[in-house]
Amino acid sequence: MAETGPSVEFSTSLTSSSLPPPRTRIFKIIVIGDSGVGKTCLTYRFCAGRFPEKTEATIGVDFRERLVEIDGEKIKIQLWDTAGQERFRKSMVQHYYRNVHAVVFVYDVTNATSFRSLPAWIEECKQHALGTEVPRILVGNKCDLQDSIQVSTDVAQQFADLHSMPLFETSAKNPNSQGDGTYGGGNSDHVEAIFMTVAHKLKSQKPLVLSQPPGGSGGTINLSSGVNDRGDGSRSWGCSC
């Protein structure tokens, strides 16, 4: 419902049953976090390339897709922008986690409560039988609001280390104003970099056979050699494609 402009195209393209060629892999990434931390803005930023003017509370889930090319392979990143408010997610949770490829936890750096409820989100993720085998990342949003930061990078980094997740601080509104210099900054789009990192990681991690374990001669299919070194670090996004 919060979708405007280009995202409408996404949703219409999703309803059509003409399946894209099976060559393109789809990575289902869910974005999870308290209400109001900016999940919708973040996903919108990545898929539509700009900050949405007006958003309302997400009901249930919104799907956003974007086709990216990683190492010559077209990959469709399917972002599930989930509802943060409990009353809008209710019975949806199991659908979120079904066959998910990566989980993005989002908190608001200007809202300590959203940071404090992260363990609950991680717990929910664990409960839905995802454990740690699915790549998870932690994103602190709204870091352009330098004056009202309540969650310091150190604390967040500690938390991220504790849960062995990479941490990113960014702003969906103004992703270039990245405060942390370690991520290069420049003119690149940090939000995009985050999702591309995840995509790289997924690509390097997943063999091409998705649902069937390669039986016996499965080694013929593993083509991911040469990309393993790209996806694991948070720094690899800089040279995406």
Binding site: F63, F88, S91, Q212
Partner: protein
Amino acid sequence: MTDSEERGGAGSAETWKRHIVRQLQNRDRNQHTKFQDLIRFYTQLLEKTSLAKGILSCSTRHTPSDNGSSISALLHQNNQLRKTTGELAYKVVEMQQQIKIKESFLDEQHARLLEEECRLAVALHAHQELQERVDRVKVENRALKLEYDTLLEQQRQEERRLREENDRGVHLVEDMIHLKQQAAVRMNSRNERRSRARAMNLTTARSKVAIDSSSSAPTSRSTSPKSEDQDDCSDRRHTRLFRSASVTSPRFLSSIKQLFDRKRRGRSVCSLEEDLMCPVGVCVSARVPARALQVLEAHEQGINAVKFSTSSDLLATGGTDRVIKLWEVRAGSLTHKGTLDGSTEGITCIEFDPTGLRVLAASYDKSALLWRRDDPIPKLTLTGHSRKVTAARFSGSLHQVVTGSADRTIRLWDLHRAACVQLLRVTSYCSDLVCSENCIVSGHYDCKIRVWDARAASCVQELPAQGKVTSLDISADHRQLLSCCRDDCLQLVDLRRWSNDRMCFRADGFKCGSDSTKAVISPDGCFLAAGSADGAVYIWNVSTGNLESHLPDKHSSSISAVSWSLSGEYVVSVDKSKWAVLWSDI
């Protein structure tokens, strides 16, 4: 005088003297009597006087004796009296003073009284004013109260509206969540399907690679060895600009398209090797529907027939309103694609030809009609029956059609000549028929299923049924024949043995709703589906013989027909009150 007479009569001396004495005595007596009263009075007076004197003397006798003391007493008395008088006078003065004080006090009181009266008057005035004000305020209050009451009422109404709106909001949110949930489920199942498709492609690719190690045809990219493909692909991509993700190579796209088209036709692994003209194929597995994806009012009157095309993406429904509607099945919903008209009466039966391009229908108007699926005008009308046509089927070849009718005949038609080439006479009303390679199986109202040899035009066999046969269906492999009878029982007969052993499928609540109720076999032959008079769809498992699923509540009237898509994915049921329901497992 007396003394003068006495001296002159001395001679006569004693005589004259005596006379003079008598005269004197006489005078005396006279005089005396005259004064007697006076004397008596006098004495009386004297007595009285003496009495008075006596009294007086009595009273005054000792006065002179106590004179001195009495005087002092009197003086004393006098003094005392004087004193008393003085005191009294003083008192008088005091009293007068008090009176004065009292008077002044009184005056004061008077003044105050006046003052108080004034104030009282003022107060009264004020009181009156206040009273007036009170009255006014009361009036105002009354008005305000009235206003308040109306406002209260308004507020109550607004609150009620708010509650209602909240309720509506909650409902909307619930609906929304429900929709989103469905979308999520669809998205998940799509993802899964895609990954399965990929996996399947890869398996076929692997097997092909095993057979033929050389690089495969350029049209099927997925069957080429992945590593080469990948290198090739990435080489090509690297020359492109950064993130030109939306640009798709036409070669790539078309290859995928071809791949997909081929996949579509059969929905099965082995279909790749099959003859493209006969995609009857083998469905890998039919999925038992569990949920209604869409419920729609498909026709203006009751729907009698429903059929999926052989490619599973098109659905045809026909009803009493004389038209056939074509629906596109996409992403779990039906979209109206076109209407085929030309029949002058209701449609009783619909059939797609094996290529899926033509639609054959039987009609109440004693004819059978043939359309191209993209042309609403019938291409052929087969007339000759004398009563309504109940069934029309393509026989084994594409140019031959068999029709069954209520006029107790079965006719074979040649579509090239548009003429009846053979006429089979039966003794009973033909309700439905199906065609196998060389035989025609027809169901009749005399509780018989008859098998005909199409070439010899003779009845090969008669199979008994328990009731009026309402519909027949033949499995995709032409091995099993399903019949639905009015005794609320589905029978499955193995056509290869022509024996009398058969499986019966019944269920509590399942009731055959009409003389033309149609039951079907799932494309993989594992399930049977039929609609009941109570509006529920019943699905039986052929291997166990038990009821597999029961889907109630979507139809409000008797279901007339069901159809199972050849992909095994969808089931559509239609009812006598113009509703059609699309069912699936997700």
